[in-house]
């Protein structure tokens, strides 16, 4: 589990930020993206993927979350 931050992006809807490794990347796909259910498996532009426990969409971004690493790039 890692602490991550999800924020609004200019190119894509969301940008992923992992402070511990200073990894900043666009989120290219998110499994659930509705007001009621938000999160799930997210895929990053660099090929990595993480899992956020599905939850209600956050009222405001950026938000800090816990995420599970499924597949890191490199």
């Amino acid at each position: 589990m890692a602490n991550i931050m999800v924020q609004r992006g200019s190119k894509t809807d969301y940008v992923f930020y992992l402070p511990k490794r200073d990894l900043e990347d666009d989120i290219v796909s998110m499994e659930f993206d509705t007001p009621e259910k938000w999160g799930g498996e997210i895929k990053l532009n660099n090929g990595g993927s993480y899992y956020i426990e599905p939850q209600a969409a956050p009222a405001k971004l950026p938000i800090s979350l816990r995420a599970k690493r499924l597949d890191a790039a490199e």
Binding site: M5, Q7, E24, N46, K60, P62, I63, E74
Partner: protein
């Protein structure tokens, strides 16, 4: 000399790597690249923020340097204790030239060195008692200080002192912020982690102090973040923002005070100059206080105008008009500077190797003078820095991460730039080689270089260095022929 082609540059990298043993070669190859603007992501061509190889000469600093030297040090009305042996604080004292207003030793303490001067017995029995005593002495001798930060040096982490407990106790006793910072030098691969640790300390110990207190705000409040006022940089930036109608509430951290920092959560926008060292706190404030942040670049008139317009776009028409007014006001002045220096500098080629923002930020300033940056690199940049750099650099230019002394020398020998911009550790090698050199960390004891006023000084300095007649008369000491015996006798 004409610019190198992509193949030549690639061959050059291979040639330089040739001297390393197999393993080192493989590692270093990942840090050297030829710029390709079509690449979207820097990590495909360059690796950064990795541990330096033992045995090569790196130019990086440590976490303590990043925290005490960069982020905390310039906060002028606090006392920053270099907690540990005396050397770390003493040899870095006042070297960064972050200017401030105040009476040193009375209400400001920027150029002074406070240290706990660890001895053998402190390592054996722990230094907590000494730290508590030291804080008491500081309170007695410098009662006008507004707070204290405890900057850990390596031994503190190694012996496991509890500086947090001492700090909390002292803070309660003196009713002042006492901030423990766990920036031991061995943490991380470079000063970059020190920035992060320092940002986290500010987040935890400084920002919450004024939560819920009254603040008389205006809709035009901004904070200048990541400008360390080197040679007066923050001042020449600040006047532009104020002239266009904004109110600068806080300067982080050049010529800054702790009161300003505590008020930052009330501003409308955070303006970030040094992204590398202060983006962490900006992200935190965006999340917790919903303050948007933006990066700006105040090097060279083109970028200044671009940045002023981008900043103004976040505000109403009054500010937008203000920005245009400021740009129009300085336009003729800048044109005069360019008219004067461009003919003398046009077509000259520059190689840079600096810290965390200048390798990309100053490119615009050089281009305004008709110069070309043919190589650039970061000491401690991360991937997101290189992402931002690729677009600014020309195709087939060299990019080097955490370059070693040897590599940099070889690159300069082969690329033959007309000017090298780097730090004090590289300065004398290149000067002795007869290559014009400017320090781009401390502006070679000149400055400011930010803003419109800074550009005039920047242009003058570059001309002064580049067109100095001395360079052609220098022979490197290691290339000198043995002097004839006769000449020696006569002397």
């Amino acid at each position: 000399m004409s610019a190198l082609t992509r193949e030549e540059t690639e061959a050059l990298i291979q040639e330089v790597l040739e001297v390393y043993p197999e393993k080192a070669k493989k590692d270093r190859a990942k840090h050297l690249a030829v710029n390709d603007q079509s690449i979207e992501q820097s990590k495909k061509c360059i690796t950064s923020n990795r541990k330096s190889l033992p045995g090569v000469m790196t130019i990086r600093g440590c976490a303590y340097a990043g925290s005490k030297g960069v982020v905390w040090g310039p906060i002028k009305d606090m006392i920053h204790i270099s907690h540990g042996p005396v050397g770390c604080g003493q040899y870095s004292r006042a070297g960064r030239r972050n200017y401030y207003v105040g009476t040193t030793g009375v209400n400001t303490f920027g150029t002074m060195n406070f240290t706990s001067d660890f001895q053998e017995k402190d390592i054996v029995f722990g230094g907590d008692k000494k730290l508590a005593k030291l804080i008491g002495e500081i309170e007695q001798l410098f009662p006008l200080n507004k707070g204290i930060s405890v900057q850990s040096e390596c031994p503190i982490g190694l012996i496991g002192d509890d500086i947090e407990a001492v700090s909390k106790k002292a803070a309660a006793e003196f009713n002042k912020p006492v901030v423990p910072v766990r920036c031991e030098g061995f943490r991380g691969v470079s000063q970059s982690l020190g920035h992060h640790i320092a940002n986290d300390a500010i987040r935890d110990w400084v920002l919450p102090r004024r939560e819920g207190k009254a603040f008389e705000g205006t809709p035009y409040d901004v904070a200048v973040i990541g400008d360390y006022n080197i040679g007066g940089d923050a001042w020449s930036s600040r006047i532009l923002l104020e002239e266009m109608g904004l109110r600068v509430v806080a300067q982080w951290s050049g010529d800054g005070t702790i009161a300003e920092m505590e008020k930052t959560p009330y501003v409308k926008v955070n303006l970030i100059h040094c992204y590398r060292s202060m983006n962490y706190i900006a992200r935190h404030m965006e999340e917790k206080y919903s303050i948007p942040w933006m990066e700006y670049n105040f090097f060279g008139p083109t970028k200044v105008a671009e940045s002023l317009r981008a900043i103004a776009a976040l505000f109403d028409d009054k500010i937008k008009e203000g920005a245009e007014r400021v740009i129009a006001k300085y336009q003729p002045l800048m044109q005069a500077v360019i008219d004067k220096y461009k003919p003398r500098l046009e077509g000259k080629r520059v190689m840079l190797y600096v810290g965390g923002l200048r390798p990309r930020h100053v490119i615009g300033a050089y281009e305004d003078l008709g110069m070309e940056v043919v190589g650039t690199g970061y000491e401690f940049g991360h991937n997101d820095d290189y992402d931002r750099t690729i677009k600014d650099m020309g195709n087939a230019t060299l990019i080097y991460d955490d370059v070693t002394g040897f590599e940099f020398e070889e690159f300069v020998k082969r690329v033959k730039p007309d000017l090298v911009g780097s730090g004090i550790k590289e300065k004398f090698i290149f000067q002795k080689m007869g290559v014009p050199f400017r320090q781009m960390h401390s502006w070679d004891y000149s400055g400011p270089y930010h803003g419109y006023d800074g550009f005039a000084i920047f242009a003058r300095d570059m001309d002064m260095t580049l067109n100095n007649p001395c360079w052609s008369k220098i022979t490197a000491p290691w290339l000198k022929q043995a002097e004839p015996e006769a000449a020696k006798k006569a002397a």
